[in-house]
Subunit: 189 residues, 2 copies
């Protein structure tokens, strides 16, 4: 998706060897026009979606943009830890390791919000090792919901995430794919 | 805002004495049409906004809806704890006590994303004691940015939040205000 790729080249910052910092337009300050454009983009890539699923936190903005372009379908976001209003006796639960935060989170979705027969599009901002997607797919499997596919804003093409998800027979579409890093710069596919 | 009020009466659930659970349309599953309608609503209430500010997590979806209706202006969300990509040497920082989670979080906004001269609309899903708003207002003050006002999805009218914010000379608009709870039911103003 050209707009996104140009933006990554212009405003992406590389930290260390393999962390791409996109906090000026993706995950701290958010370019809401880009969110809307990405929503339109994913709506051309997938059909028959009746619900969007993501995981807190930084997937939520983009998942809203996508759901808006599937006729304002509901968005469900998986929660990373128990809150005062989450009844954990009635949830689908899985665990997800975070690549950047180096922690494992228990992740929940209330059983009322994903059902057998739902056609789910999973949206996330980053795909690296695929842990978040595999967790969300596991939740859909527990609910006997169909995963139509996964839409990713930025994929790290040199990590194993896509391979793991595709090996389950699930389609992955990424708006931008990082091929590699070179001399402190990001090179996209 | 009538659509929201009807929805709270229909789908809101009361837990304990004073927690209104709206997880089927606000903060776990999200009604994205309602998000868009609320965005339109707040765009009629405030003028001259060039940036929307919220705090993770459940404010983000509604803040996107609002920013969309201010000509897709940027959205900044304050982060609750340090992440691998947040450089805490260059942030505005404040602390926010959570009413429902009973914890105090350090909250950060990177200094690159709020500046002197910005006209900020603060959006949050709930207003109770006002701690989140006061924290976000404090961050804007540190940045010498102007707070145009605060837009709230659901205000608990019997708690002190509005009074504290208005005492700073800042306008608060809420789409729905809980007057009180009565026999396990919510009564809106």
């Amino acid at each position: 998706m050209d707009t996104l790729k140009e933006r990554i080249y212009k405003d992406g910052i590389i930290i260390g060897d393999n962390i791409l910092k996109v906090d000026s337009f993706i995950n701290h300050q958010i370019d809401t026009k880009l969110v809307d454009d990405l929503g339109k983009y994913f709506a051309t890539k997938f059909k028959g979606v009746n619900k969007v699923l993501t995981i807190e936190t930084s997937g939520i903005a983009f998942a809203i943009g996508v759901a808006n372009h599937f006729d304002f379908c509901p968005l469900v976001f998986a929660k990373k830890s128990g809150s005062a209003t989450l009844d954990t006796s009635n949830v689908y639960q899985t665990s997800v390791a975070s690549f950047t935060k180096k922690v494992v989170n228990n992740v929940y979705v209330d059983k009322r919000f994903i059902s057998k027969g739902d056609k789910i599009l999973i949206i996330d901002d980053f795909l690296a090792e695929g842990n978040a997607l595999l967790g969300l797919i596991d939740i859909c499997k527990q609910a006997e919901a169909e995963v139509v596919g996964c839409g990713i804003i930025i994929e790290k093409g040199f990590q194993a995430g896509r391979k793991k998800v595709e090996s389950l027979g699930i389609r992955v579409e990424s708006a931008a794919i990082v091929d590699h890093f070179e001399n402190g710069k990001v090179i996209l596919k």
